[in-house]
Symmetry: C2
Subunit: 272 residues, 2 copies
């Protein structure tokens, strides 16, 4: 940059932080790039932080000390979360979503970037304190959502598969009972996928009885790693035998396929 | 916002545009939010545009007229693209990636947000002129990459599956020969997934002979839609019988499993 004034600094800092969620940038990095004093930079960061808070575009967190700096936390304002969850609820209650077998068609939802970006921001808020090392999901419908959560946490995504693919080298496999199919299924993950002692957040699109979650927990224990949270877009009202902090954004209250009626509610735990 | 000066405007506009790639915001939207004149806003946008160009953080495009406005195109500087592709090449050439069967382990790469975000930005540049309506991929390894491309193009992602799942309602199925397995496989997509007459960009992690691409093309023709481009992370040197504009970022030059040597090159078509 040729002439670097306050305007140029604010544009560069805002764009850099927002494009790299949860990535810590040292003040020295910005001072060098922008040829400015740390005190000047601190004022800029305070201002950006204020505007973000006021407009609900997320938060800036500053870390003091030698290894300190600043990073961006991609969250939303509470009222924007509620507005989004109401939109999602209404969208899902469209009776045309009921497909044969009494299932709900949600592919367009779970692969729509506008929708899953916002859902991912809510999961950031819900699991921010968990010190997560990896985001995990099971193929295939949860991958796009989990990938946004991974981006926002700035952590790698690992994907368990339902059958061992020979392009992954040696794998760890476990069996579990799927709540959706009622059948025994296999979950498999490459041995190279996760380091020992990792803390993992599991993200998926849909949860019934929690069979997949228990499967994931068993799989992770083979990696000497632990499941520290579960975030799903939609859960049924079935009893979940899951002993981990889990949050669903929406709850499927009732699906009456015969009369083409389907009802969701917003999980009160999420917006309380 | 209480007091809205130039600094506040620049922070808000930068953050809003960057967080919503390819989404057109009318000047009126910003004028209303920021209580400023259009001429003032135009100056702000010009300045942001200049800083983005200088620092390689993407581009702003302005559209004039009544339906006009401004949007953000997430691209990178040429030298950053080349630096990234060299990094990726070196990362992939690690002999430990060679797994049994003479395959290459790339799961950590294709699910690493830092990597696929940058790859997605290159695909934005490569296919910007194609007037794309959907991004398509096939489960499962390409989903995260395709999901970033979809986010950056601000278009829905559609995912074809290798077996029909009963939760998707009626589906369209086609058979194709996979270059990776050499077997006849099935590709399936929900009937609701794509509207008629759509222009589709296919994104995947790996391409051998192009069987999957031909499969996708056949599948799309069932939706009276057309494949207008193919972007893959890695392609082998095998002859591709594919009659569509396709670009791979890297080329797998040689895999010598016995001597644990693996060589990639950067596709000259991409960086020319």
């Amino acid at each position: 940059m040729q002439k670097i004034g306050k305007s140029e600094r604010l544009i560069f800092i805002t764009s850099t932080l927002v494009q790299n969620p949860m990535k810590l940038f040292s003040l020295t990095f910005f001072c060098d790039k922008l040829s400015c004093a740390k005190s000047t930079l601190s004022e800029d960061i305070d201002l950006i932080s204020q505007i973000f808070e006021q407009t609900g575009q997320g938060k800036l967190e500053t870390v003091s000390g030698a290894a300190g700096g600043v990073y961006y936390i991609p969250t939303m304002k509470k009222e924007d979360e509620i507005e989004f969850l109401n939109f999602l609820k209404n969208e899902l209650q469209n009776p045309e979503r009921i497909v044969s077998g009494g299932f709900v068609y949600i592919n367009d939802i779970v692969f729509n970037p506008e929708v899953i970006k916002k859902a991912a921001r809510i999961f950031v808020r819900l699991f921010l304190e968990k010190e997560i090392d990896y985001i995990a999901t099971v193929e295939a419908k949860g991958i796009a959502l989990a990938s946004y959560v991974a981006q926002y946490f700035n952590k790698p995504l690992v994907v368990a598969r339902n059958s061992s693919k020979f392009t992954e080298g040696s794998t760890v496999n476990i069996s579990y009972i799927s709540g959706t199919t009622g059948k025994i299924e296999t979950m498999t993950m490459a041995k190279k996928a996760i380091k020992k002692g990792a803390r993992v957040l599991f993200i998926d699109d849909f949860m019934r009885g929690g069979g997949t979650v228990r499967g994931m927990k068993d799989l992770l224990s083979e990696f000497e790693s632990s499941l520290v949270g579960v975030g799903v877009l939609i859960a049924t009202k079935d009893k979940k035998s899951v002993d981990v902090d889990y949050k669903s954004l929406l709850i499927l209250e009732k699906l009456d396929a015969e009369n083409k009626r389907i009802t969701f509610s917003i999980n009160p735990q999420v917006i309380s």
